[in-house]
Symmetry: C2
Subunit: 169 residues, 2 copies
């Protein structure tokens, strides 16, 4: 599994917030019940979203959460990044903003100076993921969730302007 349940829950939470009128806050309890998710765990999830500035909150009675921006100005890579941290296919991608190629194993002093072929592969994978996340907005997901599921069997039309997904969406 590529993403943990934090991402799943967090995205659902964001969609739920996007479905609400932004004028009044929505309580976590309401969301937990609607999505049948454990409230206490959702608290930890939403904390990440708040730290990332994606949602705002009000405490006390009738408090709750709401989106800090309109849903069409929130791309899903922001959301997923807030929930999962940096999206990296492999370890050597993390604190490695420099172009250094040092995928050899530590310990031995000898540095591997051959081209790290796997890095090319993981770069492409990362690019593929990033692209799909950046080109999807929260508003799209909200709109998708609003459509009545007339027939559960067939997937509805992909959002116009998007390329068709390869494995038959």
């Amino acid at each position: 599994m590529i993403f943990s349940s934090k991402a799943e829950y967090g995205v659902r939470l964001m969609v739920e917030l996007g479905r609400q009128t932004p004028t009044q806050p929505t309580s976590l309890k309401a969301i937990a019940e609607a999505e049948r998710l454990p409230l206490a765990y959702l608290e930890q999830v939403v904390a990440r979203l708040k730290r990332a500035g994606l949602v705002m909150s009000a405490r006390g009675a009738h408090g709750g959460y709401w989106l800090s921006r309109p849903a069409d100005q929130i791309t899903m890579d922001e959301v997923v990044q807030a929930l999962e941290g940096a999206i990296a296919p492999m370890e050597c991608f993390l604190s490695d903003t420099t172009e250094r190629v040092l995928c050899s194993h530590p310990g031995t002093g000898v540095e591997e100076h051959r081209h790290c072929a796997t890095k090319l592969l993981w770069m492409r994978v990362q690019g593929g993921i990033a692209r799909s996340l950046q080109t999807t907005t929260l508003a799209e997901l909200v709109e998708f969730s609003r459509r009545e599921s007339v027939v559960p069997g067939r997937e509805p039309a992909v959002v116009p302007g998007r390329e068709p997904v390869v494995p038959a969406v």
Copy 2:
């Protein structure tokens, strides 16, 4: 981290095999030393590749492994799939070859019939990953590893009709 070390080790192993002349087998020991990886663990990794039919082997002295096909006829999604199993961003994508949308939580009898918005997102992510893996061949990685480290260069030949990669591979 999206992929485990099995994928990293296995891809390296395949690249290493791709660098050899295919006429004679390469022993795991040689690969383990070249890549500084634990031999006993590599055995488990290569077993997956063999089960998937990507490599062949000969036992006994002077035995070893070799690619079962030319490297330009091996796409990396085959390799990664053999190593990691099915590539799924989220659990509900696994034994779900049918078009059913049932991302609700089990337990309660009530089925969630609202459109599962997260599924749309994970579909796109999966598509992005699949595309990047399918359009990369082992031969490319081998060729890349042969190049002296000049400039990582430009991403070659994205599938026609696709837009260019966003984060600058």
